[in-house]
Structure formats: structure tokens, C-alpha cells
Symmetry: C2
Subunit: 311 residues, 2 copies
């Protein structure tokens, strides 16, 4: 049997037909147009799914279940998107709305970060008893899988790992409070840190990099650090430390069998992960038992579709 | 059926006969004498248990299982105390050693903080789907119960909630690193904070309190703050804030249905908990779903015995 996974984002709706091993057989996307009435967005979601079925030469009868990941607070028990700032939805009876297009089908709603975590777990988790997925992107997202099940907290609002406070009264976070991990370890934060270092050092190689590429990105400091620029090296060292502090906290709380880190920045590979692991293992409270595996996620944008389909 | 719960501490061995509702029918304790060979400690544990059975007028046949909580890293799967600084044990085959006194009985080993958490959960958890127990004492201990099961991490070394870093490069923690929650929210930390405030303010009422009581304790600042001493009020306000930061992190990660806080300081009651709850609920990332219940634990030293017996 096959499943459909839907990743409802602030910009695009992505969907895919996914087999039981987490392989995407066919996928597509359309703009979300979140300013429109929800009915229209749901209609486009359904059209996208039916178009994928048609392209794949199958029908709804070949689909076992449909899952959707969406940003914000999701109440799967009642089939409701409780609140999502990103897609401008509040108390939307999404399951009921989708059901009119997919009558009789099991429809699961999931927070998008949890769905992505489940996707990475299903494909790359190796059956870990406890698994944590972190995305370093515009924000810092996370998901927790315990004994093969998504951990959501009693109210569905858990696993907001980006909002661990790592520096009281520190950097302002978009959530309204100060000092969240996200305010230090997101790519948004890295760009801010890069900009500050460039302002401090007019001779840094990073100025040339930015002149060549047009703007500061998450890659600026990493690429210049690899070439030996001292200001860039300092940015990367601090960023590595910020990532590590959150991971140490996660280890001391969960001792998960495996942590995978996703988001574009994870493409920096060993240059990022080796120093992170060195710090994290050094400060891990666990000194006597086997260590958590830490590595890069691999599914990127597909994680949400796969996880929504399989969760 | 009844169970035996054993709480093996650095100073005392406590044990109790516990019914299925978590009621202690009989309990007792003997000094640990941790400097002695482990064989002798285990012999005393067994003698204590048999003496309790005799006092209660029952035999080992009336006991369904035996559980022991001990500080440090415990490997229940293999029946081993992997490492415990407090009781000076390393790689001790505790289950095998206990089995010679209690042949044929199920014997469970558990980390002491996890056992205490399970005890509070069993008696005061109200069947919460997710439950976190925090003890504020010499250190900050914690335990996590998810779906009625102790969460230990894949290697048994999880739930070290006192070692969440809340202030990088902050106060030195006994674990070797700086800025752990324990270094701010333990009673040890409160005493340090009280001492510093007294040194800063020679007119504080806290000086008289200490002259009356002989030494600074966790109660010094609280009692003087209740009487309006401004230096003491500042100590309590800061301490409340330190407790709250760790709890905010726990909420944003777990969204547990219930958090109970134990240790002697929890006897401060609403004077401590009301301002803590106010801060925690304000900074909780969850704004749209039901809130975590936060309250005082009630079992104190019995929690470990009860939890070990029932877990």
C-alpha cells in the first residue's frame, strides 16, 4: 500500500506518494497562497494529490492513508489546526475539510517539524529507541521520536527544541522571549553573527565573498573560514559552540540513541559536525555508558512529505 | 501482593514494604557505610529487608518483586550499577548479589532520581500521560515518566535535568562544567546566593536570622523575605527566576501534563510556586493549548522507596 504525504508550508504546498519504506514515488508542489480562504487552499491540496495519483497511474483506492504536516499547533485527536501564524489558520477543522475530498481515508495531521523528524527517523533512524531531529534553518526546529512514536507532549505542543533558553536575557528570539537556542543557532542567527563580525573587521575576506555572491548567507563564514580568514573562523567557532550548548542539553535530558541535524547548514559536513561532536561529547554528563550518535540528516525538504505519509 | 522498595543512598540505606497503591506498610533504615566492601553493604540491605518482613509478620513469599534505587548510572538490563560516585560502586553486579538473598525474585535496579519520580507519579501523578519530577536539594535531580514508563534514554543515563545549561560560562557546577541549572536552582546554590546577598548588605535581617539559627540554610532568605527584608526578597526573586528558566525549558521540550517539584524547599509552598508559575506560564512557548500543571511533590524521602518498589 502507498500513502500520501502533504507538507503545508507558508510558501508552498508540497505533496508526494510515498511507499512503506519512505521512498517518494512522485511529488509535486503548488504555491500556498495563504492569504486566500482556507477552503481554496484545501481545494488546491486535494487537486495536487489527485494530479499526483493520475501521473502515477493509480487511484485513491491504492492509498492507505493521508498525512499532513503543518506549521504551528496541531490537534490531531480532534483533527484541528489549533493555531498557525505561518499559514494564518486558527481552529481550522482540517481533517473534516480534507475528508470531503478523500472520503473514508485515514487522515493524520502533524506539526511540520514532528513530521520531518519522523521522516528522518523512518529513513535514517536505523530503528533507534530514542531519536531527536534538529533543523537549523530560519529558526531551529525539532522533533522527538521515542520507541518509534512521535513525542508531542500531552497537549500536542511539545518538542519546541529551538526554544530552550540557553542565555537568560540574551539575544531576542522571534517567539518574544530572550536567549532561546534558536536566537543563537539558527541560520538567521548565523547571518546576524556574520554581519557583526564583518562590521568589526573591514579586512575580513568575508567582504569579498559577499561582494561576489551578492549577500550574506549561512555559507559566508564557513567558506571564508575554510580559507583561513580569522574573523570567519571566529564566527564559525562561536556558532559551533552555540549549536553544541543546545545539543548538550538534549543529551543530558534524553540520551537519545541518535541525533540527526538537518537544514542547509548541515551540508557543511564534517567541518561543522566534527568540532560540534568534540564539544558535545566532552560536556555530555554521561561518562560511562555508550554515546549518542550525532550526524547529518539527508532528506532535506522531502523529510516532511515522507514523515507526514508514514507517521 | 506487596513489593519491597530499597533506596540506597550515600549515607543511609532505606527500605520499605509497599502495597500496590504506593502505601508504605513498614519502613526502616541503616547506615550505608559506603567505605566497606560492597558484599557487606548488600548483606545489610538484605538484613534490613528481612527484618522488615519479620516485623510485618510476613515472608518473602508475600513479596512480588524487589526494586532498588541508587545514585549514579544504572544498567537494569544487565543488572549492574555501572558507576556511582556517591556510593563508590563501579560495575557492580547488584542484581546477582541481591539474588543470593532473594532467590527467584524479580529484582529491578533504577537510578534513584528516576525511582523517586516514579514514586511521585504513582501516588500523585493522577495518571498524567507525561510527567516530570524535579527535586531541588543538594543538587537538582529529575525524572521523566512518559505513558506510565520511566524514560531513561537508550543507555540508561538520561533525565539529568539538573544539567541543562542555562548560562554558558556561568556558575561552576559540581559536574565539572559551568552554567548548569543545578548551579543556580539547587538549595546549595540558594545558600550561596543568600551568603553573597548577606555580604553585600550588612543591615539585612538575614544576619539576625543566621545568628538565631546557627547557619545559613535554604530557609534563610525565604523566611526573611516573608518578613519584608529587601535583600532577602531579591534573593528569593532571583532564585524563583532560576527555577523558572529550567522549568520553561522543560515545558518547551516536553509539555508534560504535570510537573511536581520536591525537596525541602518545596515546603515553601505558594510563596515559591505562585511566582514560579507566573513566570513559567508567561514564557511557555505554548499559547493555545492546555497548560502543564505545576505543583509541590509530597512524598519527600519516601518517594524513592515507593518508586523503587513499584517501577
Amino acid at each position: 500500500m502507498l500513502n500520501i504525504g502533504i507538507d503545508l508550508g507558508g510558501t508552498n504546498i508540497a505533496a508526494g506518494i510515498v511507499d512503506e519504506n519512505g521512498k517518494i514515488l512522485r511529488k509535486g508542489s503548488v504555491p500556498t497562497g495563504k492569504e486566500r480562504p482556507t477552503e481554496e487552499v484545501v481545494k488546491d491540496i486535494a487537486s495536487l494529490c489527485f494530479s499526483l495519483l493520475e501521473q502515477e497511474g493509480i487511484t485513491l483506492d491504492d492509498i492507505a492513508k493521508i498525512g499532513m504536516g503543518c506549521p504551528g499547533t496541531v490537534d490531531n485527536e480532534n483533527g484541528i489546526i489549533a493555531y498557525s501564524n505561518n499559514i494564518r489558520m486558527e481552529n481550522v477543522p482540517m481533517r473534516e475539510m480534507l475528508s470531503s475530498y478523500f472520503p473514508g481515508k485515514t487522515i493524520n495531521l502533524e506539526n511540520d517539524a514532528n513530521a520531518a523528524a519522523y521522516g528522518e527517523y523512518a529513513v535514517n533512524g536505523g530503528g533507534a529507541k530514542s531519536f531527536v531531529f534538529i533543523t537549523l534553518g530560519t529558526g531551529v526546529g525539532g522533533g522527538i521520536i521515542i520507541d518509534g512514536k512521535i513525542y508531542r507532549g500531552f497537549n500536542g505542543a511539545g518538542a519546541e527544541l529551538g526554544h530552550i533558553i540557553i542565555q537568560p536575557d540574551g539575544e531576542q528570539c522571534t517567539c518574544g522571549i530572550k536567549g532561546c537556542w534558536e536566537a543563537y543557532a539558527s541560520v538567521t542567527a548565523l547571518i546576524r553573527q556574520t554581519k557583526a563580525a564583518m562590521e568589526k573587521d573591514p579586512n575580513s575576506m568575508m567582504h569579498e565573498w559577499v561582494a561576489d555572491y551578492g549577500k550574506i548567507s549561512g555559507r559566508t563564514a564557513f567558506e571564508c573560514a575554510r580559507k583561513g580568514d580569522s574573523a570567519a573562523i571566529e564566527v564559525v567557532e562561536n556558532y559551533v559552540r552555540y549549536i553544541s550548548i543546545g545539543l548538550i542539553n538534549i543529551l543530558n535530558i534524553f540520551q537519545p540513541e541518535k541525533i540527526l541535524i538537518g537544514g542547509g547548514i548541515s551540508k557543511e559536513g564534517d567541518y561543522l559536525f566534527e568540532p560540534v561532536k568534540k564539544i558535545v561529547y566532552k560536556y555530555d554528563y554521561n561518562k560511562y555508558m555508550p554515546k549518542t550518535q550525532i550526524g547529518a540528516a539527508s532528506l532535506f525538504n522531502d523529510a516532511g512529505i515522507i514523515g507526514a505519509a508514514l507517521a
